[in-house]
């Protein structure tokens, strides 16, 4: 497996994904803020949370890139379109399971069942993360496809 490629390009792909999400936020397309979601596991201060979350996201991005690299190695090929397919599977998992399930474990995320005594303040993402804006699934899909394409183009399958 291409360990060096994984180490370098995993970071590059995650950076590309994060950058695209930030651009989409700035353009008013989505309120999905993965560094904030991750960082608020550790702190309530949104500014600090984004810093911690950014590095956590890089770490998770690297872990997912390992999965992509293994997939390429098993199939013996790495192309942009195979990376895009992996990206689609990845975003499908993120939108239907990873992010919507966060309210069950996130100490500061509210839940659809929150009531009188709930003091959690971070809005729950909802199905397909639609609570963070109607275009969120589209933005997340494009970002993950780009993540996959970057890895498909740059990681050596052998």
């Amino acid at each position: 497996m291409d360990w060096a490629g994984w180490a370098v390009f995993g970071v590059a792909a995650t950076a590309a994904l994060t950058a695209l999400l930030i651009v989409a936020q700035m353009a008013g397309l989505t309120r999905l803020d993965i560094p904030l979601l991750l960082g608020t596991f550790l702190t309530e201060d949104p500014d600090r949370a984004r810093v911690y979350g950014f590095f956590l996201h890089l770490g998770f991005g690297q872990l997912f890139a390992l999965g992509y690299a293994l997939g390429f190695a098993i199939l013996g090929t790495a192309t942009w379109w195979l990376g895009a397919i992996f990206g689609l599977l990845h975003v499908g998992l993120a939108l239907t399971a990873l992010i919507p399930l966060l309210p069950g474990v996130h100490p500061r995320m509210s839940s659809e069942r929150a009531g009188l005594e709930s003091r959690t303040v971070l809005e729950p993402p909802g199905l397909l993360v639609l609570n963070y804006g109607r275009e969120t699934p589209l933005v997340a899909t494009v970002a993950h496809i780009i993540y996959g394409v970057v890895l498909g183009l740059l990681i050596n399958p052998s």
Partner: protein
């Protein structure tokens, strides 16, 4: 037909129901406040849905009130053999346990002798395009409506066989308890009626603990406690967003067209409510709202939308539901709200004011929150000269509303106060100060009518506006200034609807056919204005007159001043928030009942 003021509110901070004095749930939207009604009898035909438990024959209501400090309603009827009592509520705290997200509990018991009772389970026949399917068993009936399921369990078990009323005898010491649960896109969780009752009692204890810490020096303390409960019930806990009201399209005139959807969040109304929460020491609720607003407004900053959905999404387009007859034939019934795209300047003022109160009490606001406030205020400094739709969301052309300018002044003034303790560039402070001073100069010249001795509704107008009653609270003019007292007098004179009631603007000037009632928040603003200008006795008298209107402590938006019937969506957050603000003004002025 049940009058609006006869309805009582049951809620769990995620959804809410309106129950009539005869035990009929006539309004209940699921899975949350802004969902479709499962019980829509309030606005719909026979098949629009209702759940009933109550006396078969008409009986006099001898007592109807909430249990102290809790949103649990108790209704007692006089039966031929004694009394019949219905105790009901919804369970709010369900997190962390295998409990249904929605659980309504209703227990009816006879005292003195047996009483004939009817039970009816007839949800709406069609919900989001899915036909109702019912499944009956001993002690249980389940309604399935696409992804939604509603179950009613009974103890002792009763067997319903259709959607007609089942009539049974309830004997003393053998109460009938119903647990109504609902599930949306998840399995139903069955709760035995006995456990549901226990859960309701424990939930009531939690509510009592929450509401009992209202400061002792607050006048009308029990009414304040009740109003706080209402405002909390109207706050959607999963996001922290307060809704305008539980209903859509309750008319501002019986048979009229002013029927709007209020199951949405207005940052303006929320700002008023948050300031009231803060005034009463409820900082956690204020914090929840600010977090939600910061998150919700991200896509639109620096513009602050006039309204949001509960999840902070853009509000859907307004739709007319032609097949709904409306409350007492008041058509159209609307969903969504066309004010979604309006430019409303006043919302910024309420919000920044609430933020400054929060910062005063809780210390500096955090970086992101301050950056958001700062961008809102930059926007106000730039856009304040533009005409806007105003606080009343008028649908004709935008105008130069004096109240909007006053609130823009408030936003800039409070932001300048905040800037003293928050890092802000001097150029920005200079820009805000220039804009604030320019607004003051312009409003004093163009928004004031010397002949009337009053500020006016719009620049150059001869009309006044109920919203100008906030003038003494702002600090633009000293409270004892002739301009302030003159405005209060002119509003009371021009807009009086008799007694403590005021129209919000001169009737018939909003471009819509028909009329409307007196606007209750204006009356509470009058109390505030009177308290701030040293007219204690009059303030108390108006306040007492208003509180007497609502024995259950529930206010709608308007009232018919001739019949005393409440009008408009119910219960309405703005009215309740204004009531709390009025009480705080009385307290601050050292006025007690």
């Amino acid at each position: 037909m049940t009058r609006i003021e006869e309805y009582a509110l049951l809620g769990d901070t995620r959804s809410a129901a309106l129950v009539s004095p005869y035990g009929s749930i006539d309004w209940w939207c699921l899975p949350r406040f802004d969902g479709e009604p499962v019980c829509g009898r309030l606005l719909g035909k026979e098949d629009a849905g209702q759940l009933v438990i109550g006396p078969v024959l008409p009986m006099d209501v001898i007592e109807r009130d909430y249990l102290p400090g809790a949103p649990v309603l108790r209704t007692t009827w006089r039966s031929p053999t004694g009394q019949l009592t219905l105790t009901e509520g919804m369970v709010s705290s369900v997190i962390g346990r295998l409990m249904p997200s929605t659980l309504m509990v209703r227990r009816i018991e006879a005292v003195g002798g047996p009483a004939r009772v009817q039970v009816r389970f007839a949800p709406r026949q069609e919900w989001r395009g899915d036909r109702l399917r019912l499944q009956y068993a001993e002690g249980r009936v389940i309604a399935r409506l696409g992804g939604l399921a509603v179950a009613m369990l009974s103890d002792p078990p009763i067997r319903l066989e259709n959607q007609e009323s089942l009539k049974i005898d309830v004997r003393p010491s053998e109460p009938l308890t119903l647990a109504v649960t609902a599930a949306w896109r998840e399995p139903l969780v069955y709760v035995s009626p006995q456990r549901a009752w226990q859960e309701l009692c424990e939930d009531a204890d939690r509510w009592r603990a929450w509401s009992q810490d209202v400061p002792a020096d607050v006048p009308f303390r029990s009414a304040v406690q009740r109003t706080l409960l209402v405002l909390r019930l109207l706050t959607y806990s999963p996001s922290g967003a307060p809704i305008g009201a539980v209903t859509t399209s309750l008319p501002e005139e019986i048979g009229g067209v002013r029927n709007w959807d209020y199951r949405l969040t207005w940052p303006r109304d929320a700002g008023i409510g948050v300031a009231a929460f803060l005034g009463l020491g409820k900082t956690a609720e204020a914090r929840m709202f600010f977090h939600w607003l910061l998150h919700a407004s991200r896509l639109d900053r620096p513009r602050l939308p006039a309204l949001f959905t509960l999840a902070g999404r853009r509000v859907p387009h307004e739709q007319l539901l032609d097949d709904w007859p409306g409350y007492q034939e008041s058509r159209p019934v609307r969903t969504g709200n066309a004010a979604r795209n309006q430019h409303q300047l006043d919302g910024y003022g309420w919000l920044v004011d609430a933020m400054s109160i929060y910062a005063e009490r809780q210390g500096p606001i955090r970086g992101e929150a301050w950056r958001a406030v700062s961008r809102f205020v930059d926007y106000v400094a730039k856009r304040w000269p533009d005409p806007d739709a105003g606080i009343w969301e008028e649908r004709h052309s935008p105008a130069q509303h004096t109240h909007s300018k006053l609130m823009a002044w408030l936003a800039l003034d409070r932001a300048l106060r905040l800037a003293e303790t928050h890092r802000t560039r001097q150029t920005k402070i200079g820009r805000w100060r220039d804009a604030r001073d320019a607004i003051a100069t312009e409003v004093r010249s163009r928004g004031f009518n010397s002949d009337l001795g009053s500020y006016t509704r719009t620049y150059g107008s001869n009309d006044v506006d109920g919203s100008l009653l906030v003038l003494p609270l702002l600090g633009l003019e000293p409270p004892d200034s002739p301009r302030v007292t003159g405005t209060i007098d002119a509003v009371c004179q021009q807009l009086s609807a008799g007694g403590p009631f005021l129209y919000r603007y001169p009737p018939g000037t909003d471009g819509l056919p028909g009329g409307e009632g007196a606007f209750l928040p204006c009356s509470f603003w009058l109390v505030q204005a009177l308290a701030r200008t040293g007219q204690a006795e009059r303030a108390l008298s108006v306040m007492q007159g208003l509180l007497d209107l609502a024995p259950l402590g529930l206010f709608s938006e308007e009232i018919d001043p001739t019949t005393g019937r409440l009008l408009g969506n119910f219960p309405q957050a703005l009215t309740h928030a204004s009531m709390l603000q009025a009480v705080l003004a009385l307290r601050d002025a050292g006025i007690h009942e």
